[in-house]
């Protein structure tokens, strides 16, 4: 007979190995379902990997897709660590994109060294301000932030659509609901010639480093972890719990807003209401895969991005629906949750009763 037994403290090796095994298990499970559709599994998996990382093009596409996921993943990770359940990264992303377009498509003109930071900061500020409302309501009145942040996503998307049909509509856009293009001075440079990969990736990687050091090395990060660990004890020890939650909310929203700004000024060049295929929600999966560790968010985001990009290639070649990517991502989350059980417990063989 085999039984579960609690572990005192999981080793670093285990903490790294378990998510990787979980991701692998998710892939294998997905292949079973793929086989059921009648697709050749061997070829399918080959195409998936080739599509995600088989060439410079594939690799840059995966990293391009990972860029916003790193930022929304960080947004979820930092908020969840303080037990602030920000489900509104999608809305904050659009708010950030809207602000970037409002500033970067002609309202202000300046040299690139001014315009690039300005549009990014505008995006971050918009995302952060949007999250202030739910965070203040939670901190002061105990209003459930899951509800407020989730519902704000729809409000923001409708607001973006309204703006794209109205004040922000591109007069040269042949009637399409899209914004005027970002000025060249505000656009982020590309990282690889001929490819779509842009400097937003660098911003995302720096953000991951900053968030990691914020949590580990600063008084604010200490307070954020204490509030998440035990808000009651944190308050007793003199930590301003409400203020800490509000600061956490602002940073979380700002990271998601930055993701939106990056997509507009790095990749698309203008804003439409289908800018994000759910990057905000996928960020939650990324954060969970990363066990809320900011540095682990980077590989988790690249993994999820690779699945999406690879599944696109595969579905085009084999005619399998690219919902396959959603399947792998969902299974990954489930496998990681099961895997986290093994972080807290070990299996032990016991003799027959």
């Amino acid at each position: 007979m085999i039984r579960f037994e609690p572990r005192a403290q999981p080793s670093l090796l285990l903490r790294i190995a378990i998510p990787m095994v979980a991701a692998l298990a998710a892939l294998l499970l997905s292949l079973i379902i793929l086989a059921l559709t009648g697709a050749p599994t061997g070829r399918a998996i080959g195409l998936l990997f080739a599509g995600a990382a088989g060439s410079v093009f594939a690799l840059t596409e995966t990293l391009t897709r990972a860029t916003p996921l790193i930022l929304t993943g960080l947004a979820a990770a930092i908020a969840f660590r303080s037990r602030l359940w920000n489900i509104g990264a999608e809305g904050q992303l659009y708010a950030g994109a809207l602000a970037a377009v409002a500033i970067g498509s002609g309202a202000i003109e300046g040299p690139p060294w001014l315009m690039m930071p300005l549009v990014c900061l505008a995006g971050a500020l918009a995302g952060g301000l949007l999250m202030l409302g739910p965070a203040l309501l939670k901190a002061k009145l105990s209003v459930d932030e899951v509800v407020t942040t989730l519902l704000l996503n729809f409000v923001v998307l409708l607001f973006v659509q309204m703006m794209l049909e109205g004040p922000l509509k591109d007069p040269m856009g042949m009637g399409w609901p899209q914004s005027a293009p970002i000025l060249d001075e505000a656009a982020l440079p590309k990282l690889v010639a001929q490819m779509r990969l842009h400097a937003g990736l660098v911003i995302a990687l720096v953000a991951a480093l900053l968030v990691a050091s914020l949590q580990r090395a600063t008084v604010l990060g200490f307070e954020m972890r204490a509030v998440g660990g035990n808000a009651s004890a944190a308050g007793f020890a003199g930590i301003p719990v409400a203020a800490t939650l509000v600061k956490t909310g602002f940073i979380s929203g700002a990271l998601a807003g930055l993701a939106g700004a990056g997509e507009v000024v790095g990749l698309k060049g203008y804003l439409t209401s289908d800018l994000s295929p759910g990057f905000g929600y996928a960020g939650i999966v990324v954060a969970m895969l990363a066990a809320l560790e900011p540095l682990a968010v980077v590989p988790a985001a690249i993994f999820i991005a690779g699945i999406f990009v690879g599944a696109d290639t595969m579905s085009r070649s084999l005619g399998v629906s690219n919902y396959f990517a959603d399947l792998v991502v969902a299974l990954s989350l489930l496998c990681v949750l099961v895997g986290s059980l093994f972080l807290r417990y070990r299996l032990r063989r016991v003799g027959p009763a």
């Binding site: 007979m1 039984r3 037994e5 609690p6 005192a8 403290q9 580990r216 090395a217 600063t218 008084v219 604010l220 200490f222 307070e223 972890r225 204490a226 660990g229 035990n230 009651s232 004890a233 944190a234 308050g235 007793f236 020890a237 003199g238 930590i239 301003p240 032990r348 016991v350 009763a353």
Partner: protein
């Protein structure tokens, strides 16, 4: 004290139980036999391995070595499948935990039923069950209102529900983990009567306690654990407090007496202060506390102590009346109180004291995180934090895997040592000690008492909130009693008897406290 029963059959045998957690050996080759109808007291310091041993018995942990044998219905000892609480329940082992495991939104009776009823069955057996629970109450005197929601019951009644629940599943072996920690002396006496009745009917009882008087009064046999090993297994008859204490800590425990007092300036002054709400409301409290003295507030938990503590700790604002704490008038935040020189120990250390997933060192500096030398310009200085933690670990003898271990891995006594080190850091002038030794063993209690006494001698005022009369008498120069939110006048401890305090705690007016009680 009852005489040991004549040779009775064994109902339980633990043989050679060894349990290791990494480098720490929690139990080392422990043997324990329990006979039918016997009350055995299990004693030991915090971290001595009592809880681990009981968790192995109950299937929460797997032993690394050794086996658990339970008598079958024919009376023959059979191995119990390890690591299965269900198997332990089926074998007739019941446990009443220190922290109750009742569903507060259900009635007492529903709690007793919980887990007994089939998931998809009709409530057929309810009436029969009801009759048998009522018969049990009549027989044992474990009276409890069965149709009232548990949330509305007091601590003593909740515990009786917990015991009734354990007894309702053909329990032959009952483990009680510190059952009297939360009871008044009168309630504890009622519990002992019930346990004696049950033992006479053939129930075997393992009784974990830190209160030596109770152990002597109730048990027939003593089993003492020290550092994971069994160091004594003897009849209770012939043992006394000093002997048990020596067995537990391995050294002579000093007799405790409050040191003479040299009172200084007033540190805490309450004048007709009301605060809080509901059952824990504090009403028109008046109290003055001088530096250098220890004032004890006696009372059963839930009579307004948490509001009093909240005012001093900075968690609660006064509604009316005047409060002055170390010169600051009116309300203040927890951070302001600490900076003014108030050292604070939370009543519920798990809820308000510790962040279990953060490390030992982080918990040690959490109150001073924003101050030199622990941070500068918002950046933490890990070397200073580590150094301060190592110093505190050494001087308070905090036993832990290291300063970077998560705090939740430590035992209760060591957590309290850490919280004490934190509260006393920087030499506070007023110390709020709210139930400072609840759940601690003799050795850890002595250590906490020594620190509080030394702090008072060094000039700190100590507000000691406790329901342990031994502790109140050992430490306090003056004592007041709190009941139903009202505080009696403060009386010189030397002029009070335990009986007077006990009566005042139960709400009876007592001459010792004057008319205000």
């Amino acid at each position: 004290m009852s005489a040991p029963p004549p040779v009775a059959a064994s109902v339980l045998a633990l043989r050679g139980i060894t349990k290791r957690f990494g480098a720490l050996t929690a139990n080392s080759a422990v043997d324990l036999t329990l006979h039918k109808g016997e009350i055995v007291a299990l004693l030991g310091e915090n971290g001595a391995g009592k809880t681990t041993l009981m968790n192995i018995l109950f299937g929460h942990y797997l032993a690394d070595e050794g086996e658990v044998l339970v008598a079958s219905s024919e009376g023959e000892l059979r191995p119990l499948p390890q690591g299965s609480p269900q198997a332990a329940l089926d074998a007739g082992i019941g446990m009443v935990h220190q922290h109750f495991t009742l569903a507060e939104n259900l009635t007492g009776f529903e709690n007793v039923l919980l887990g007994l009823e089939p998931l998809f069955g009709l409530a057929r057996g309810r009436r029969a069950m009801r009759r048998s629970v009522e018969a049990l109450i009549a027989r044992t005197g474990l009276s409890a209102r069965l149709d009232v929601r548990v949330a509305e019951l007091g601590v003593g009644e909740r515990q009786r529900i917990e015991i009734l629940k354990a007894l309702s599943r053909r329990t032959r072996i009952l483990v009680l983990d510190e059952p009297t920690a939360v009871l008044t002396p009168q309630e504890a006496e009622g519990l002992f009567m019930a346990l004696r009745t049950l033992a006479a009917e053939g129930l075997s009882i393992v009784f974990i306690s830190h209160k030596l008087d109770e152990v002597l009064a109730l048990s027939q046999r003593l089993v003492v654990l020290r550092a994971g090993r069994k160091v004594a297994d003897r009849p209770t008859a012939g043992a006394d407090r000093a002997l048990i204490a020596r067995l537990m800590v391995g050294e002579e425990v000093e007799v405790e007496r409050p040191a003479p007092v040299h009172p200084g300036p007033v540190a805490l002054d309450l004048a007709h202060v009301s605060a809080g709400s509901g059952r824990t409301r504090l009403i028109e409290a008046t109290l003055a506390l001088q530096q250098g003295e220890i004032v004890g507030i006696a009372g059963v938990s839930g009579n307004g102590q948490s509001s009093l503590a909240g005012l001093v700790a900075g968690l609660l604002r006064p509604e009316s009346g005047a409060i002055t704490v170390l010169g600051r008038q009116g309300a203040a935040s927890p951070a302001e109180r600490r900076r003014d020189g108030v050292g604070r120990l939370a009543e519920d250390r798990h809820r308000d004291g510790m962040v279990g997933d953060m490390t030992v060192e982080e918990n040690l500096v959490i109150e001073r995180r924003g101050e030199m030398p622990f941070s500068r310009l918002g950046l933490l200085r890990s070397k200073a934090i580590r150094a301060a933690a190592q110093e505190a670990i050494a001087s308070y003898d905090i036993r832990c895997p290291g300063p970077d271990a998560p705090l939740r891995l430590l035992s209760g006594g060591n957590i309290q040592k850490l919280l004490l080190a934190r509260a006393l850091a920087g030499g506070p002038r007023l110390i709020l000690a709210n139930q400072p030794t609840r759940g601690l063993d003799v050795g850890a209690t002595v250590g906490v008492h020594r620190r509080l006494r030394e702090a008072a001698e060094a000039g700190a005022a100590v507000l000691l909130i406790s329901e342990d009369l031994d502790e109140l008498f050992a430490l306090s120069h003056r004592i007041a009693v709190i009941h139903a939110g009202r505080l009696t006048p403060v009386v010189d401890a030397a002029k009070l008897s335990a009986a007077e305090i006990g009566l005042a705690m139960a709400g009876e007016a007592s001459s010792g406290f004057g008319a205000a009680a």
